[in-house]
């Protein structure tokens, strides 16, 4: 095991992509956020439930927030921060960063500015909206002072991004099975999602890996509704009653741990 693997094995990041109406606003304007375009409006309900659950289980989580959601729900996002969770960047309006071309750096700076002004400090982490990025993204993030990216799905442990253009940065890789959207978007019943998560967790723990879960506070492809929240609670408790319990950390803390290793 490398030093980073030793330092981050057994840590778990619980991450939330705060995707409300910014998803639907890519397709329609404000007046049309009704009917089939109303799913994103559910988001605050999901965030409320997540905050209660994380408090009950003592989970420090990382919330990736698009700039547009900060503008639409400043009170809610402040509540998340005041509960002690990390707020990290996630674009402005869920742009496709693989297609922005020369406009990408400006877009990153805009979202970075909105979030920095709101928080009173610069965010340390970034996640590509929908996981889409360009070959230049990591270099831009380095220039803006980011400590980590969390957009890839290609490793069992965090790793250094120096060879990928993110000089001095850490990647906090996501686990595809532990992304709620991947399972709920193909309409898996909640019990089957929990089964998948538990099996994946046991496999990861058997090799001492790092664990990253990705959640959405939505009702369609997210974990926002109450029955799903109960399954999430069972899963998070399972990670603690395991013979090899994980330690919850924010992504920023994990990145600092990796950089110091």
């Amino acid at each position: 095991m490398t030093k980073i693997e030793q330092a981050t094995g057994g840590l778990m990041a619980v991450t939330v992509n705060v995707h409300g109406a910014s998803v639907e606003l890519r397709a329609v304007n404000e007046e049309r956020l009704v009917g089939r375009y109303a799913y994103g409006n559910y988001m605050p309900n999901g965030v409320d439930r997540l905050l209660r659950l994380f408090q009950a289980l003592n989970v420090p989580a990382t919330f990736f927030v698009p700039g547009r959601e900060i503008e639409r729900h400043p009170g809610l996002i402040r509540e998340i921060r005041d509960a002690g969770h990390e707020i990290a960047a996630n674009g402005y309006a869920l742009e496709d960063h693989s297609a922005l071309g020369d406009a990408e750096f400006e877009a990153l700076k805009k979202a970075h500015g909105i979030m920095s002004d709101f928080l009173g400090e610069a965010p340390l982490g970034w996640r590509a909206p929908d996981g889409l990025m360009s070959m230049k993204t990591l270099g831009y993030l380095t220039q803006l002072g980011y400590l980590y990216d969390s957009s890839f799905q290609d490793d069992d442990f965090p790793y250094r991004l120096d060879d990928d253009g993110g000089v001095g940065m850490i990647e906090i890789p996501q686990n595809p099975t532990l992304i709620d959207q991947n399972l709920f978007s193909i309409k898996q019943p909640d019990a089957r999602v929990l089964k998948n998560w538990k099996e994946e967790f046991e496999g990861l723990r058997s090799v001492g890996a790092f664990v990253c879960q990705t959640l959405h506070p939505r009702q369609d492809y997210g974990v926002g509704r109450a029955p799903r929240m109960i399954k999430l609670e069972e899963f998070l408790r399972h990670t603690q009653y395991s013979p090899q319990p994980v330690v919850f950390k924010t992504c920023a803390d994990i990145a600092k741990t990796a950089l110091a290793a």
């Binding site: 799905q153 290609d154 490793d155 099996e199 496999g203």
Partner: protein, 278 residues
């Protein structure tokens, strides 16, 4: 039941691994980063994990490698051959689409890349994502290939018909991408690995009962593959289950192909034990 297999085996098992690194996404004009980074897992984690697993279980496997991945990950691909596994060709950019008249060019290109890298030519080929045409076998034979593992027409090996002639120097080792391939289960239905394991055991039970052929297809990547610890464990449990049965012969596909070519009369057009029809 009379055996058709070497050593009077009751069932032959090929474990086949489609490397599918960056070629898969690059071939679809997607940048292999962010949510399309699953192929980066192959060389970094999946292939070493499979090596360790196969060595522990005493198995030699066949790895299908796209030419582009051999260019991107030469050390990892060389290590496959060094560990005694077979390397077959699998397209250049994992072309699941129709290449038209450019197909021979890309078949030759990948053939040269793999031959130069390994110092030996591949003799087996598997279509990437179903991409194959009426030109394919013609070109593969010119390049010295002796088998193809792409067809869905049978459960047993068989000799393909090309231009009205049934070949005797080139054999099809069928690949079942419906239920013996990890990708559909882990991509389309996200089936829990424990259930995939049970499915593959049940598939083996019928192959074993028929004195048959069992070709299990896995990918070392993240995402739809089996490279991660949970799914690699499911693969291990399947292999351990198979190994508890007497008379099972694990082979690389090249050995299975050579056996079929040396014993062509054992493989009539319709080869199911209960079928007398031709």
């Amino acid at each position: 039941m009379t055996s058709r297999w070497p050593q009077d085996a009751r069932c032959v098992v090929n474990i086949t691994v489609d490397f599918d690194g960056l070629s898969n996404e690059t071939g679809k004009k997607l940048l292999p980063i962010g949510k399309y980074s699953h192929g980066r897992y192959s060389a970094k984690r999946g292939v070493p994990r499979f090596f360790e697993l196969f060595e522990r279980l005493g198995i030699k496997a066949t790895f299908y490698v796209p030419g582009y991945d051999a260019e991107c990950f030469p050390a990892a691909v060389r290590s496959i051959a060094d560990a005694g596994h077979e390397i077959g060709a699998h397209g250049y950019l994992h072309e699941a689409y129709d290449l038209g008249e450019e197909e021979p060019f890309y078949l030759r290109k990948t053939h040269k890349i793999l031959t130069d890298l390994l110092g030996a030519s591949p003799v087996g080929w598997r279509n990437p994502g179903g991409g194959k045409s009426d030109l394919t076998i013609k070109v593969l034979r010119e390049l010295g290939y002796i088998y193809d593992s792409s067809e869905k027409a049978a459960d047993f090996p068989y000799f393909p018909v090309v231009a009205g002639q049934r070949l005797r120097d080139f054999v099809n080792l069928p690949d079942n991408t419906s239920s013996l391939d990890d990708a559909p289960f882990y991509r389309d239905s996200m089936t829990p690995p424990s259930e995939v394991c049970e499915q593959w055991k049940a598939e083996f039970d019928t192959a074993y009962a028929e004195g048959g052929y069992y070709d299990l297809i896995v990918h070392p990547r993240s995402g739809f593959g089996s490279g991660g610890p949970t799914r690699a464990k499911a693969l291990e449990n399947v292999i351990l289950y198979i190994q508890r049965h007497p008379g099972v012969l694990f082979q690389r596909q090249v050995e299975t192909a050579r056996w079929c070519l040396q014993n062509p009369d054992l493989w009539p057009e319709r080869t199911h034990p209960w079928s007398g029809r031709q």
